[in-house]
Amino acid sequence: MEPTIQDTIGRIDTLWVLVAGVLVFMMQAGFLLLEVGFSRMKNAGTIVAKVIANLSIAGICYWAVGFALAFGATQVPADGETAGWLAGNAGFFLNNLPDLEIPALAFSAADPAAKFFFQFAFLAVSLAIVWGTTLERIKFGAYLIYAVVFSAVIYPVISHWIFGGGWLQVNFGMQDFAGSTVIHLLGATGALAALLLLGPRQGKYGADGKPNVIPGHSMPLVGLGVLILFVGWFGFNAGSTLSVADGRFAEVAIVTVLGGAAGALGAMATIWVITRSFDIGMTGNGVIAGLVGITAPSGYVEYWAAIPISLIAGILVVVSIIAIDKRLDDPIGALSAHGVAGIWGTLAAGLFTAPRLAEYNAVGEGGLLYTGSFDQLGAQALGVVAAFTSVFVVSFGVFFLIKKTYGLRVTAEEERHGLDLVEHGMWGYPEQFMPVPGTQYHQPVPPVDRPAARPAPLGVAARGAESKGRA
């Protein structure tokens, strides 16, 4: 049988959604390099293990329950647009996926499998954002425990509210095209909860309470991370159209590039005004903040609006990083670049949304600038408050339990040696720490031949020492 035009559109949409999902998936590499670059050398390797472990947990949890809670519906309700007020309820373990009703994404003809993959990649991004504040002192197991809760419950439920046809989207018309709130603010909120329970890195604050500088070890890696994220963002925003037929995805891509550019220049100009230096890290943070800021409005605004929105995001991120640094040790600027810029981006939709695009997306209405009405801005603010409050409460609870049971933070001595050594048994850059770079390490001498006095062992040795009688 000849495929119909409708079949063909569905297949093209599937191709685009899957390609966009792969671009978003690649953002993991961006987060990895960004975090590695902003850490000291002794904490570089742990990030590799963390990103891979988190991505893996996210994939399996989202397959098992996440996607069902976020998007699944047992039947299309009478009004044809919502799966449930609080959470979805069908499609656990992707059961019967080809026939699964995904009412919130029904506007796209793409295959449900492509939609799942795309949404999974989003979850993985949100989870990656959580850990930016925790670098250089958190216990590795804490990543694994929280990743399960976040991927299986926290992210799916909130994304249902805003993406999946839940109460914020349907009842209040909150606009979040690609996830300034759903992805970025959620991640940053988890990051805030973790940070409040973790405390600052050793030496971050002096005896007088003034913040010290702990520079990251590689700005080239930060730059590579930022640019990989920028590329990934074309999947993130433009892919959120979930379809290609009318060319909207290309328009969203242009909005995205304008946003990243305005964010970079806004941040660079702001830090120059404050310190008279063209700060490398702040410029990188500016790109991210600009992109985060334009994420929610990207499908709702005209090209020109991307520039004021992201310029302000770029200014905000610098001011916010400097302000937060006085009290809270956020090594990578996640609270500012994803949290503050995420809130601003969400609110910006309430200001700049073009009525024709609100109508096109069938969510909410035009922004304050066009309509003179505060309705949309109010819906956006409600969404921010609802998402922030629920995620913060749940995340704080989870991290509190982790802290009381497994422990959230390595010991002071372990922190000095670096997480690479104590959690993973080897530095990320061994030759940096070798007495003679390029030589080899030797196998340990049998215990009987060793000097009697031994210091308390560290890391891997500490855990195995007692049983092997080498303490």
């Binding site: 050793q202 000095r416 050594l421 048994g425 007495p435 196998q443 031994r454 062992p457 040795a461």
Partner: protein
């Protein structure tokens, strides 16, 4: 004129530096070094194989000071570098034969004596 040389923990550097500043020590040299004392390193693993990391990273702090302050400099170093755990390091003192300030050609103990002038180029 004596040279005081201390092997200290990296994390104690700031307090060592502050203590020497308080005494008006005119200059110091810090280098990253690897070494072993009583700590003797530790065992770690890499891709399933055990490895013996026998040398630990430390910092070496060197300063040449006039005779009259040697005692207080050594005392200050010891108390600033002290944590009480194995691996706090050592302080050594040596005689110095001569010193020349390259810029002016001055010689002798005056070149290492702290003049009390405010440092230029800091804190702005």
């Amino acid at each position: 004129m004596k040279k005081v040389e201390a092997i200290v923990r990296a994390e104690q550097l700031q307090s060592v530096q502050d203590a020497l500043d308080d005494l008006g020590v005119s200059g110091l040299t810090v280098s990253e070094v690897m070494g072993c004392g009583r700590q003797k390193g530790y065992t770690e693993q890499y891709r399933g194989s055990r490895v013996n990391i026998s040398l630990l990273p430390k910092l070496k702090v060197e300063s040449v000071v006039p005779d009259e302050v040697v005692g207080s400099v050594v005392d200050a170093l010891v108390s600033a570098a002290y944590t009480g755990a194995t691996g706090d390091g050592r302080v050594f003192t040596y005689d110095v034969v001569d010193a020349v300030r390259i810029r002016t050609g001055e010689r002798g103990e005056e070149t290492v004596r702290h003049t009390g002038e405010a440092p230029v180029g800091w804190g702005n």
